[in-house]
Amino acid sequence: MARVLLFGRLSDLAGWREREIESPFLSALRTRLTADDPVLGEALAGPGVQVALDQVIVRGDAPLGARTEVAFLPPMSGG
């Protein structure tokens, strides 16, 4: 089960901040999230949204382990 985290406006949009979701790949996770909530799916693919796997930014697709933390990070605003 990947642990999915949403930050900033993404969690407001989705109505949740953290969810356990079974998915073998990041691409499959995106498909699954989009199927559940097309508006969120579009936002996750939007400009400037980065993905971190276990706190490391990744680009493109990647396999997800049983306990991978997947964080969707909208553009960072600074403090």
Binding site: L5, F7, G8, R9, D12, A52, Q55, A71, L73, P74, P75, M76, S77, G78, G79
Partner: protein, 151 residues
């Protein structure tokens, strides 16, 4: 030391502690960012961080600052959660042998923290909550440091 805190903090107490026992340093610069009321437009600021990730990202830039400006020490404390107008949001202290390096390192760290650090910022005003993106000025400030950065 880099620390995120949900609790209000006193920048003066941090400065007092930071200056202790520095008989060989000479120069301590600080910056304190305070939440602005904006004449009632902002009632509360809310800052979200990604625990662990945010500290690590700030830590990398802090290491750059240590090397680039030859700092003896630095401290960064950043508030997260809900912040009332007038409360400190961020405190940066830098210690160096000469004031130029202390000032420049503090300035460099603040430019990073204000525009690129992994925070997400929401203002709760009379018109409801609103997510904030970094300002053009924040980006311009940060670019000042790029021109003499090795590629």
């Amino acid at each position: 030391m880099i620390r995120l805190t949900f609790e209000a903090f006193d920048p003066g107490a941090l400065l007092t502690a930071f200056c202790q026992g520095r008989a060989e340093v000479g120069a301590v610069a600080t910056f304190t960012g305070l939440a602005r009321a904006e004449a009632g437009a902002t009632q509360t600021l809310e800052l979200e961080a990604y625990p662990g990730f945010t500290e690590a990202a700030i830590g990398k830039v802090a290491d750059q600052a240590r090397g680039r400006f030859g700092l003896a020490d630095l401290e960064i404390v950043h508030r997260i959660g809900r912040i009332a107008p007038g409360e400190p949001i961020v405190f940066v202290a830098t210690a160096a042998g000469h004031r130029r390096e202390a000032f420049e390192a503090c300035d460099f760290l603040m430019d990073y923290l204000k525009s690129k650090a992994p925070f997400w910022k929401k203002e709760h005003g009379p018109g409801g909550p609103r997510w904030i993106e970094p300002s053009d000025r924040d980006h311009a400030d940060l670019q000042r440091w790029d021109k003499d950065t090795p590629p």
